[in-house]
């Protein structure tokens, strides 16, 4: 038995791998998905491929194991062991897997913990730092007397007056509002820049607690379809898991009773996400949808409009859509942002 690295850029290797997985019922081989894979391993016995597993950064994908003529679980444990060891060697110590519910136990037997489940999929993690570490470092609101605590999750790519309006509306109805900023560097503005601009734009509102959303809220791990073009059903099951993590783990740890959403007229992916949150969060967590703010010129304020203006060198046209702090950042870093756009950073989408 040997484990070797499979080079999927070779057509014959890829065909063999794909045929093997298709026989096991895995059917999504879109280029967008395959391009994300950093590492694919194959376990061979008598020159036959009998197990495979891949990783896209810290997310384990495309796991397939043939159980024929083998001790149950042995090949699964071997391939996952080899894959996790290689990721640990690269310094990637926190790993996730999305899989079908029937495989959840197999992963739990090798130390994974289930974070969320739905009828179609489960989401598990292993390694460190884990969800408990994430929850422990969040700021806590004193509960010496009952407080109404709300939350908003935003990518803020970049932070606009629309985001600020949403936070202010939430604060009108709550004592504190957690503002979780999406932690994935797949957007024009990097995570550190987005957090910096959210903090700057809300500086005068001390009851808005701006925190990094970590790997647990609309991250590349929990909701890859937010960043990759995907079908509606994929968006639906991923957002269901994302909603369950928020409802069952994040909200109770921070005493969050309400999640505020901005209405979504522009992005179909976010529109489905909003629908799913409204279905899944209540009654444990209330959902309130706030109509998007329109600018004085009756335009819907959207970060996407801001990015378009940047790409077309029309920064001045969106001056009334963003706080002064965001505008100043874009002016100061215009060249850098333009270089990122030229290098192919997606500006439509989210």
């Amino acid at each position: 038995m040997t484990v070797i690295e499979l080079n999927l850029s070779l057509p014959e290797v890829k065909n063999q791998w794909q045929n093997f997985l298709q026989k096991l019922g895995i059917n999504n081989f879109s280029t967008a998905e395959i391009q994300q894979l950093d590492l694919t391993l194959g376990l061979y016995e008598d020159e036959q491929l009998v197990a495979t597993a891949s990783a896209a950064h810290n997310v384990i994908k495309y796991v397939g194991v043939c159980q024929q003529d083998s001790t149950p679980g042995a090949r699964f444990n071997q391939i996952i062991s080899e894959l996790t060891s290689r990721l640990y060697q690269q310094g990637i110590f926190h790993l996730f897997v999305f899989t079908k519910p029937q495989y959840s136990l197999s992963f739990q037997h090798v130390g994974f913990k289930q974070l969320a489940d739905s009828s179609q999929a489960v989401f598990l993690e292993t390694g460190t730092p884990d969800i408990q570490d994430y929850l422990a470092q969040l700021p806590q609101v004193s509960q010496s007397h009952p407080q109404k605590i709300a939350a908003i999750v935003m990518n803020a790519n970049p932070f606009t007056l629309g985001h600020r309006y949403l936070v202010k509306r939430a604060l009108q109805q709550s004592d504190y509002v957690y503002v979780f900023v999406v932690n994935t560097d797949a957007s024009l503005f990097k995570t550190s820049e987005r957090i910096q601009l959210v903090k700057a734009g809300l500086k005068d509102l001390p009851h808005a607690l701006v925190v990094n959303g970590g790997d647990y809220m609309v991250s590349y791990a929990t909701f890859p379809a937010y960043f990759l073009q995907s079908g509606q059903d994929v968006v639906r099951y991923q957002t269901t898991l994302d909603a369950h993590i928020f409802r069952d783990l994040i909200a109770p740890a921070c005493q969050i009773s309400t999640r505020f959403l901005g209405s979504e007229p522009l992005s179909p992916t976010t529109a489905i996400y909003n629908q799913v949150l409204q279905q899944e969060l209540p009654p444990k967590v209330q959902v309130q949808v706030i109509e998007r703010k329109q600018s004085d010129s009756q335009k819907v304020i959207s970060a996407s409009t801001v990015r378009q203006a940047l790409a077309h060198n029309q920064l001045a046209t969106i001056k009334d859509l963003v706080p002064a702090t965001t505008y100043q950042f874009m002016q100061e870093h215009k060249a850098l942002l333009e270089t990122r756009i030229k290098e192919g950073m997606r500006i439509n989408g989210n």
Binding site: A74, N77, Q78, I80, S81, E82, T84, S85, Y88, F93, Q108, H109, V110, G111, G127, T128, P129
Partner: protein, 97 residues
């Protein structure tokens, strides 16, 4: 000795144990996943704790995934992970064996 970085030793295959050691503020805490945790959980944790103490490590968080490892295997994997985590691989701790 101080834990300087996260480190791992061992595999998830049968008769082995995978030990992951990370920094902690104080004390040794162990999260154990094992099919035989009911019968041998206390013993496994004791071997890990004793080995870390012999290495003068008094603050660490350990995640262990046991696949039926014998005590000597548990000890060996713990030493390997600890030496990596304390960045002392150049000076093997012979006396702990």
């Amino acid at each position: 000795m101080e834990i300087k970085e996260t480190a791992v030793a061992g595999t998830l295959e049968s008769s082995d144990i995978q030990i992951m050691i990370t920094k902690a503020d104080q004390g040794i805490s162990i999260e154990l996943e094992s099919d035989v945790a009911k019968q041998f959980g206390q013993q496994i944790k004791k071997v890990i704790t004793d080995t870390l103490k012999q290495l003068d490590i008094d603050a660490a968080h350990v995640k262990a995934v046991d696949k039926g490892a014998l005590d000597c295997v548990i000890k060996a994997r713990t030493i390997a992970a600890a030496q990596r985590a304390t960045k002392t691989v150049d000076t093997p701790a012979w006396e702990v064996l």
